[in-house]
Protein backbone atom coordinates (compact mmCIF):
# COMPACT_ATOMS: atom_id res chain seq x y z
CA UNK A 1 0.00 0.00 0.00
CA UNK A 2 2.82 2.39 0.78
CA UNK A 3 4.38 2.09 -2.64
CA UNK A 4 1.04 2.88 -4.27
CA UNK A 5 0.60 6.01 -2.18
CA UNK A 6 4.10 7.23 -3.06
CA UNK A 7 3.36 7.07 -6.77
CA UNK A 8 0.09 8.90 -6.21
CA UNK A 9 1.90 11.73 -4.48
CA UNK A 10 4.31 12.00 -7.39
CA UNK A 11 1.42 12.96 -9.61
CA UNK A 12 -0.52 15.31 -7.45
CA UNK A 13 -2.85 16.40 -10.24
CA UNK A 14 -4.37 12.92 -10.28
CA UNK A 15 -5.39 13.14 -6.66
CA UNK A 16 -8.71 14.78 -7.46
CA UNK A 17 -10.35 11.35 -7.37
CA UNK A 18 -9.16 10.70 -3.83
CA UNK A 19 -9.45 13.97 -1.95
CA UNK A 20 -7.58 14.21 1.32
CA UNK A 21 -5.70 10.97 0.77
CA UNK A 22 -2.75 12.18 2.79
CA UNK A 23 -4.94 13.06 5.74
CA UNK A 24 -6.78 9.77 5.56
CA UNK A 25 -3.53 7.88 5.60
CA UNK A 26 -2.32 9.80 8.63
CA UNK A 27 -5.59 9.09 10.42
CA UNK A 28 -5.28 5.42 9.53
CA UNK A 29 -1.71 5.34 10.80
CA UNK A 30 -2.73 6.98 14.08
CA UNK A 31 -5.57 4.56 14.64
CA UNK A 32 -3.31 1.65 14.01
CA UNK A 33 -1.34 2.66 17.08
CA UNK A 34 -4.49 3.21 19.10
CA UNK A 35 -5.53 -0.36 18.28
CA UNK A 36 -2.09 -1.62 19.27
CA UNK A 37 -2.36 0.31 22.52
CA UNK A 38 -5.80 -1.09 23.30
CA UNK A 39 -4.54 -4.61 22.76
CA UNK A 40 -1.44 -4.11 24.88
CA UNK A 41 -3.60 -2.65 27.65
CA UNK A 42 -4.81 -6.15 28.44
CA UNK A 43 -1.27 -7.51 28.23
CA UNK A 44 -0.07 -4.75 30.56
CA UNK A 45 -2.85 -5.57 33.03
CA UNK A 46 -1.82 -9.22 32.94
CA UNK A 47 1.83 -8.29 33.43
CA UNK A 48 1.00 -6.03 36.38
CA UNK A 49 -1.08 -8.75 37.98
CA UNK A 50 1.62 -11.37 37.49
CA UNK A 51 4.36 -9.08 38.75
CA UNK A 52 2.29 -8.07 41.76
CA UNK A 53 1.52 -11.62 42.79
CA UNK A 54 5.04 -12.94 42.28
CA UNK A 55 6.77 -9.99 43.94
CA UNK A 56 4.56 -10.18 46.99
CA UNK A 57 4.16 -13.91 47.21
CA UNK A 58 7.50 -15.37 46.18
CA UNK A 59 9.26 -14.86 49.52
CA UNK A 60 6.49 -16.61 51.39
CA UNK A 61 6.36 -19.65 49.16
CA UNK A 62 7.92 -22.72 50.78
CA UNK A 63 7.31 -26.41 51.20
CA UNK A 64 6.17 -25.77 54.75
CA UNK A 65 3.43 -23.50 53.48
CA UNK A 66 2.18 -26.18 51.14
CA UNK A 67 2.40 -29.11 53.53
CA UNK A 68 1.54 -27.65 56.95
CA UNK A 69 -1.92 -27.75 58.38
CA UNK A 70 -3.74 -24.57 59.20
CA UNK A 71 -2.56 -23.14 62.50
CA UNK A 72 -3.34 -20.28 64.81
CA UNK A 73 0.29 -19.28 64.61
CA UNK A 74 0.81 -17.59 61.24
CA UNK A 75 4.46 -18.73 60.91
CA UNK A 76 3.38 -22.37 61.20
CA UNK A 77 0.19 -22.20 59.23
CA UNK A 78 -0.06 -23.97 55.89
CA UNK A 79 -2.36 -24.74 53.04
CA UNK A 80 -2.33 -28.52 53.24
CA UNK A 81 -6.01 -28.87 54.01
CA UNK A 82 -7.03 -26.17 51.56
CA UNK A 83 -5.11 -27.85 48.75
CA UNK A 84 -6.82 -31.17 49.42
CA UNK A 85 -10.15 -29.36 49.52
CA UNK A 86 -9.50 -27.85 46.10
CA UNK A 87 -8.49 -31.22 44.68
CA UNK A 88 -11.62 -32.81 46.06
CA UNK A 89 -13.81 -30.14 44.47
CA UNK A 90 -12.16 -30.64 41.08
CA UNK A 91 -12.51 -34.41 41.17
Amino acid sequence: MTSASVTLHDHDDNLAVTPGLRKRQIVAGLWRWIFVLATTLAVIALGLLGWYIVSRGYDWLSWDLLTNMASRRPERSGLNVAIYGTLWIIS
Binding site: L21, R24, A28, F35
Partner: protein, 320 residues
Protein backbone atom coordinates in the same frame (compact mmCIF):
# COMPACT_ATOMS: atom_id res chain seq x y z
CA UNK B 1 -32.51 -61.29 23.86
CA UNK B 2 -31.30 -64.84 24.38
CA UNK B 3 -33.73 -66.48 21.96
CA UNK B 4 -31.41 -66.31 18.98
CA UNK B 5 -33.22 -69.15 17.26
CA UNK B 6 -36.22 -66.98 16.46
CA UNK B 7 -36.43 -67.02 12.68
CA UNK B 8 -38.33 -63.78 12.04
CA UNK B 9 -37.95 -60.22 13.23
CA UNK B 10 -41.04 -58.24 14.05
CA UNK B 11 -39.43 -55.18 12.41
CA UNK B 12 -38.26 -57.10 9.39
CA UNK B 13 -41.35 -58.72 7.94
CA UNK B 14 -40.88 -61.34 5.33
CA UNK B 15 -38.85 -64.49 5.32
CA UNK B 16 -35.52 -64.57 7.16
CA UNK B 17 -32.68 -63.84 4.79
CA UNK B 18 -29.87 -66.33 4.86
CA UNK B 19 -26.54 -65.07 6.12
CA UNK B 20 -28.00 -62.23 8.19
CA UNK B 21 -27.11 -62.38 11.87
CA UNK B 22 -30.36 -61.26 13.45
CA UNK B 23 -28.95 -61.57 16.95
CA UNK B 24 -26.21 -59.12 16.03
CA UNK B 25 -28.72 -56.72 14.52
CA UNK B 26 -30.81 -56.84 17.67
CA UNK B 27 -27.76 -56.24 19.84
CA UNK B 28 -26.74 -53.27 17.73
CA UNK B 29 -30.19 -51.80 17.95
CA UNK B 30 -30.21 -52.28 21.70
CA UNK B 31 -26.83 -50.57 22.08
CA UNK B 32 -27.97 -47.68 19.88
CA UNK B 33 -31.07 -47.12 21.99
CA UNK B 34 -29.07 -47.41 25.20
CA UNK B 35 -26.52 -44.87 23.98
CA UNK B 36 -29.31 -42.47 23.09
CA UNK B 37 -30.83 -42.82 26.54
CA UNK B 38 -27.50 -42.31 28.33
CA UNK B 39 -26.73 -39.19 26.30
CA UNK B 40 -30.20 -37.84 26.94
CA UNK B 41 -29.73 -38.40 30.67
CA UNK B 42 -26.48 -36.41 30.53
CA UNK B 43 -28.23 -33.53 28.82
CA UNK B 44 -31.10 -33.76 31.28
CA UNK B 45 -28.75 -33.29 34.24
CA UNK B 46 -28.02 -29.70 33.34
CA UNK B 47 -31.63 -28.99 32.47
CA UNK B 48 -32.88 -30.38 35.76
CA UNK B 49 -30.19 -28.49 37.65
CA UNK B 50 -31.38 -25.25 36.10
CA UNK B 51 -34.98 -26.16 36.81
CA UNK B 52 -34.13 -27.00 40.40
CA UNK B 53 -32.38 -23.67 40.90
CA UNK B 54 -35.29 -21.75 39.45
CA UNK B 55 -37.85 -23.61 41.55
CA UNK B 56 -35.90 -23.10 44.78
CA UNK B 57 -35.30 -19.42 43.99
CA UNK B 58 -38.96 -18.86 43.21
CA UNK B 59 -40.41 -20.75 46.16
CA UNK B 60 -38.07 -19.23 48.76
CA UNK B 61 -38.42 -15.74 47.29
CA UNK B 62 -42.19 -16.11 47.42
CA UNK B 63 -41.90 -16.72 51.15
CA UNK B 64 -40.03 -13.46 51.47
CA UNK B 65 -42.74 -11.65 49.56
CA UNK B 66 -45.38 -13.03 51.91
CA UNK B 67 -44.13 -10.67 54.60
CA UNK B 68 -42.61 -7.89 52.51
CA UNK B 69 -44.32 -6.33 49.53
CA UNK B 70 -42.77 -6.71 46.09
CA UNK B 71 -43.28 -3.02 45.37
CA UNK B 72 -41.51 -2.01 48.56
CA UNK B 73 -38.68 -4.39 47.75
CA UNK B 74 -38.21 -3.10 44.22
CA UNK B 75 -38.60 0.62 44.94
CA UNK B 76 -37.19 1.00 48.45
CA UNK B 77 -33.98 2.94 48.88
CA UNK B 78 -33.02 1.66 52.32
CA UNK B 79 -31.37 -1.73 52.70
CA UNK B 80 -30.78 -2.45 56.36
CA UNK B 81 -31.31 -6.19 56.27
CA UNK B 82 -28.65 -6.98 58.83
CA UNK B 83 -29.75 -4.40 61.40
CA UNK B 84 -31.14 -5.86 64.55
CA UNK B 85 -33.93 -3.31 64.68
CA UNK B 86 -35.53 -1.21 62.00
CA UNK B 87 -34.94 -3.69 59.20
CA UNK B 88 -35.75 -2.38 55.76
CA UNK B 89 -35.62 -4.30 52.52
CA UNK B 90 -35.48 -1.79 49.71
CA UNK B 91 -33.26 -3.32 47.05
CA UNK B 92 -32.34 -0.18 45.11
CA UNK B 93 -29.03 0.43 46.93
CA UNK B 94 -27.83 -3.02 45.91
CA UNK B 95 -29.12 -2.68 42.35
CA UNK B 96 -27.55 0.75 41.93
CA UNK B 97 -24.17 -0.53 43.08
CA UNK B 98 -24.40 -3.51 40.73
CA UNK B 99 -25.29 -1.24 37.84
CA UNK B 100 -22.48 1.18 38.62
CA UNK B 101 -19.90 -1.60 38.74
CA UNK B 102 -21.27 -2.95 35.47
CA UNK B 103 -21.18 0.49 33.84
CA UNK B 104 -17.56 1.09 34.83
CA UNK B 105 -16.60 -2.42 33.72
CA UNK B 106 -18.27 -1.93 30.34
CA UNK B 107 -16.56 1.43 29.86
CA UNK B 108 -13.26 -0.45 30.18
CA UNK B 109 -14.15 -3.63 28.33
CA UNK B 110 -16.12 -2.31 25.34
CA UNK B 111 -13.47 -0.09 23.75
CA UNK B 112 -10.52 -2.26 24.79
CA UNK B 113 -12.26 -5.44 23.71
CA UNK B 114 -13.47 -4.25 20.32
CA UNK B 115 -10.20 -2.53 19.46
CA UNK B 116 -8.27 -5.66 20.42
CA UNK B 117 -10.62 -7.69 18.24
CA UNK B 118 -10.07 -5.36 15.27
CA UNK B 119 -6.34 -5.37 15.81
CA UNK B 120 -6.13 -9.13 16.14
CA UNK B 121 -8.19 -9.90 13.05
CA UNK B 122 -7.25 -7.05 10.71
CA UNK B 123 -3.80 -5.77 11.64
CA UNK B 124 -1.80 -8.31 13.59
CA UNK B 125 0.58 -10.63 11.80
CA UNK B 126 0.10 -14.34 12.30
CA UNK B 127 3.05 -14.33 14.68
CA UNK B 128 1.92 -11.57 16.99
CA UNK B 129 -1.61 -12.96 16.89
CA UNK B 130 -0.39 -16.34 18.06
CA UNK B 131 1.18 -14.59 21.04
CA UNK B 132 -1.50 -12.00 21.83
CA UNK B 133 -4.57 -14.18 21.62
CA UNK B 134 -3.55 -16.75 24.27
CA UNK B 135 -2.27 -13.91 26.47
CA UNK B 136 -5.67 -12.23 26.29
CA UNK B 137 -7.42 -15.44 27.07
CA UNK B 138 -5.19 -15.98 30.07
CA UNK B 139 -6.91 -12.96 31.63
CA UNK B 140 -10.22 -14.79 31.53
CA UNK B 141 -8.73 -17.80 33.31
CA UNK B 142 -7.51 -15.98 36.40
CA UNK B 143 -9.58 -16.86 39.46
CA UNK B 144 -11.81 -13.93 40.36
CA UNK B 145 -10.64 -13.92 43.96
CA UNK B 146 -7.21 -12.94 42.70
CA UNK B 147 -8.73 -10.03 40.80
CA UNK B 148 -10.53 -9.11 43.99
CA UNK B 149 -7.37 -8.92 46.07
CA UNK B 150 -5.57 -7.21 43.22
CA UNK B 151 -8.25 -4.53 43.14
CA UNK B 152 -8.29 -4.13 46.92
CA UNK B 153 -4.56 -4.12 47.59
CA UNK B 154 -3.13 -2.73 44.35
CA UNK B 155 -5.61 -0.83 42.18
CA UNK B 156 -7.13 1.07 45.09
CA UNK B 157 -4.03 2.18 47.02
CA UNK B 158 -1.52 2.38 44.18
CA UNK B 159 -3.66 3.90 41.45
CA UNK B 160 -7.00 5.27 42.61
CA UNK B 161 -5.96 6.77 45.94
CA UNK B 162 -2.97 8.42 44.32
CA UNK B 163 -5.21 10.17 41.82
CA UNK B 164 -8.13 10.73 44.18
CA UNK B 165 -6.73 10.92 47.73
CA UNK B 166 -10.22 11.05 49.20
CA UNK B 167 -11.28 7.69 47.81
CA UNK B 168 -12.47 5.08 50.25
CA UNK B 169 -10.35 1.93 50.59
CA UNK B 170 -13.38 -0.02 49.44
CA UNK B 171 -14.72 1.67 46.34
CA UNK B 172 -16.89 0.92 43.36
CA UNK B 173 -14.39 2.27 40.84
CA UNK B 174 -11.69 -0.20 41.79
CA UNK B 175 -14.08 -3.14 41.61
CA UNK B 176 -15.46 -1.90 38.29
CA UNK B 177 -11.99 -1.58 36.78
CA UNK B 178 -11.03 -5.10 37.84
CA UNK B 179 -14.28 -6.57 36.51
CA UNK B 180 -13.69 -4.62 33.29
CA UNK B 181 -10.24 -6.10 32.81
CA UNK B 182 -11.64 -9.53 33.54
CA UNK B 183 -14.26 -9.31 30.79
CA UNK B 184 -12.00 -7.79 28.10
CA UNK B 185 -11.16 -11.25 26.72
CA UNK B 186 -14.84 -12.16 26.54
CA UNK B 187 -15.64 -9.09 24.44
CA UNK B 188 -12.46 -9.47 22.40
CA UNK B 189 -12.82 -13.10 21.47
CA UNK B 190 -16.56 -13.01 20.71
CA UNK B 191 -16.16 -9.82 18.67
CA UNK B 192 -13.21 -11.27 16.84
CA UNK B 193 -15.28 -14.31 15.87
CA UNK B 194 -17.94 -11.97 14.48
CA UNK B 195 -15.36 -9.87 12.63
CA UNK B 196 -13.67 -12.92 11.13
CA UNK B 197 -17.02 -14.14 9.83
CA UNK B 198 -17.29 -11.08 7.56
CA UNK B 199 -16.57 -12.36 4.07
CA UNK B 200 -13.21 -11.62 2.53
CA UNK B 201 -14.87 -10.20 -0.58
CA UNK B 202 -16.20 -7.24 1.41
CA UNK B 203 -12.73 -6.32 2.60
CA UNK B 204 -11.28 -6.72 -0.86
CA UNK B 205 -14.05 -4.65 -2.37
CA UNK B 206 -13.37 -1.81 0.04
CA UNK B 207 -9.61 -1.98 -0.48
CA UNK B 208 -10.13 -1.95 -4.23
CA UNK B 209 -12.06 1.30 -3.84
CA UNK B 210 -8.99 2.81 -2.23
CA UNK B 211 -10.08 2.73 1.39
CA UNK B 212 -7.42 2.74 4.08
CA UNK B 213 -7.19 -0.09 6.57
CA UNK B 214 -8.86 2.04 9.22
CA UNK B 215 -11.74 2.89 6.90
CA UNK B 216 -12.20 -0.74 5.94
CA UNK B 217 -12.22 -1.73 9.59
CA UNK B 218 -14.58 0.91 10.91
CA UNK B 219 -16.92 1.49 7.96
CA UNK B 220 -17.21 -1.96 6.42
CA UNK B 221 -16.20 -4.65 8.84
CA UNK B 222 -17.50 -3.35 12.16
CA UNK B 223 -20.95 -2.48 10.73
CA UNK B 224 -21.11 -5.90 9.09
CA UNK B 225 -20.20 -7.63 12.34
CA UNK B 226 -22.25 -5.33 14.55
CA UNK B 227 -24.79 -7.88 15.71
CA UNK B 228 -22.05 -10.18 16.96
CA UNK B 229 -20.21 -7.32 18.61
CA UNK B 230 -23.32 -6.10 20.42
CA UNK B 231 -24.05 -9.67 21.50
CA UNK B 232 -20.57 -9.85 23.00
CA UNK B 233 -21.28 -6.63 24.92
CA UNK B 234 -24.49 -8.02 26.33
CA UNK B 235 -22.94 -11.31 27.38
CA UNK B 236 -20.07 -9.43 29.00
CA UNK B 237 -22.59 -7.25 30.79
CA UNK B 238 -24.42 -10.23 32.21
CA UNK B 239 -21.09 -11.60 33.37
CA UNK B 240 -20.34 -8.28 35.09
CA UNK B 241 -23.75 -8.15 36.76
CA UNK B 242 -23.23 -11.61 38.21
CA UNK B 243 -19.59 -11.14 39.19
CA UNK B 244 -19.26 -11.85 42.88
CA UNK B 245 -15.84 -12.26 44.39
CA UNK B 246 -14.27 -9.10 43.01
CA UNK B 247 -17.07 -6.84 44.19
CA UNK B 248 -17.40 -8.61 47.53
CA UNK B 249 -13.74 -7.88 48.24
CA UNK B 250 -13.16 -4.53 46.59
CA UNK B 251 -16.44 -2.63 46.63
CA UNK B 252 -17.18 -2.97 50.31
CA UNK B 253 -20.35 -3.81 52.15
CA UNK B 254 -22.02 -0.49 52.79
CA UNK B 255 -25.50 -0.73 51.34
CA UNK B 256 -26.25 2.78 50.13
CA UNK B 257 -27.60 4.11 46.87
CA UNK B 258 -24.45 4.40 44.77
CA UNK B 259 -23.74 7.95 43.62
CA UNK B 260 -20.00 8.35 43.96
CA UNK B 261 -17.78 5.69 42.38
CA UNK B 262 -15.05 6.55 44.89
CA UNK B 263 -17.28 5.58 47.77
CA UNK B 264 -17.97 2.05 48.93
CA UNK B 265 -21.20 0.30 48.11
CA UNK B 266 -22.66 -3.17 48.30
CA UNK B 267 -23.79 -4.98 45.18
CA UNK B 268 -26.45 -7.66 45.00
CA UNK B 269 -23.87 -10.43 44.82
CA UNK B 270 -21.84 -8.72 47.55
CA UNK B 271 -24.83 -8.85 49.87
CA UNK B 272 -25.36 -12.54 49.19
CA UNK B 273 -21.73 -13.30 50.00
CA UNK B 274 -21.88 -11.28 53.20
CA UNK B 275 -24.96 -13.09 54.43
CA UNK B 276 -23.99 -16.64 53.52
CA UNK B 277 -20.57 -16.23 55.12
CA UNK B 278 -22.17 -14.90 58.28
CA UNK B 279 -24.43 -16.67 60.71
CA UNK B 280 -27.91 -15.83 59.55
CA UNK B 281 -30.69 -17.99 60.95
CA UNK B 282 -32.56 -20.16 58.51
CA UNK B 283 -36.20 -19.21 58.13
CA UNK B 284 -35.77 -15.57 59.07
CA UNK B 285 -36.59 -12.66 56.82
CA UNK B 286 -32.93 -12.02 56.17
CA UNK B 287 -32.55 -15.62 55.05
CA UNK B 288 -35.41 -15.37 52.58
CA UNK B 289 -34.21 -11.98 51.38
CA UNK B 290 -31.19 -13.84 49.95
CA UNK B 291 -33.50 -15.63 47.57
CA UNK B 292 -35.36 -12.48 46.66
CA UNK B 293 -32.08 -10.76 45.74
CA UNK B 294 -30.91 -13.92 43.99
CA UNK B 295 -34.11 -14.12 41.99
CA UNK B 296 -33.81 -10.51 40.90
CA UNK B 297 -30.21 -11.14 39.88
CA UNK B 298 -31.23 -14.23 37.96
CA UNK B 299 -34.01 -12.33 36.18
CA UNK B 300 -31.54 -9.59 35.23
CA UNK B 301 -28.90 -11.90 33.75
CA UNK B 302 -31.50 -14.13 32.11
CA UNK B 303 -33.18 -11.20 30.38
CA UNK B 304 -29.80 -9.92 29.20
CA UNK B 305 -29.03 -13.32 27.70
CA UNK B 306 -32.45 -13.61 26.08
CA UNK B 307 -32.09 -10.09 24.70
CA UNK B 308 -28.70 -10.98 23.24
CA UNK B 309 -30.10 -14.07 21.50
CA UNK B 310 -33.00 -12.07 20.14
CA UNK B 311 -30.71 -9.29 18.99
CA UNK B 312 -28.40 -11.63 17.12
CA UNK B 313 -31.28 -13.41 15.41
CA UNK B 314 -32.91 -10.17 14.39
CA UNK B 315 -29.89 -8.19 13.19
CA UNK B 316 -27.49 -10.78 11.94
CA UNK B 317 -26.31 -10.12 8.41
CA UNK B 318 -26.12 -13.45 6.66
CA UNK B 319 -23.55 -13.67 3.92
CA UNK B 320 -23.32 -16.49 1.45
Amino acid sequence: MSSAAEPRQPNHPGPAVAGVDYALLRRQKFVERLAGLVLMACAAVSIFTTLGIVIILLSEALRFFQTDSIVGFLTGTRWTALFEFDQSFGVLPLVSATLMVTLIAMLVAMPAGVMSAIYLSEYASERSRSFLKPTLELLAGIPTIIYGYFALSFITPEIIQRIFPGASIFNVLSAGLAVGVMIIPLVASLSEDAIRAVPRAMREGAYAMGATKFEVSTRVIVPAALSGIVASFILAMSRAVGETMIVALAAGSLAQVARDPLDSAQTMTGYIVQVVSGDVVRGTNVYYSLYAVGLLLFVMTLSLNIFSHWFVRKFREVYE
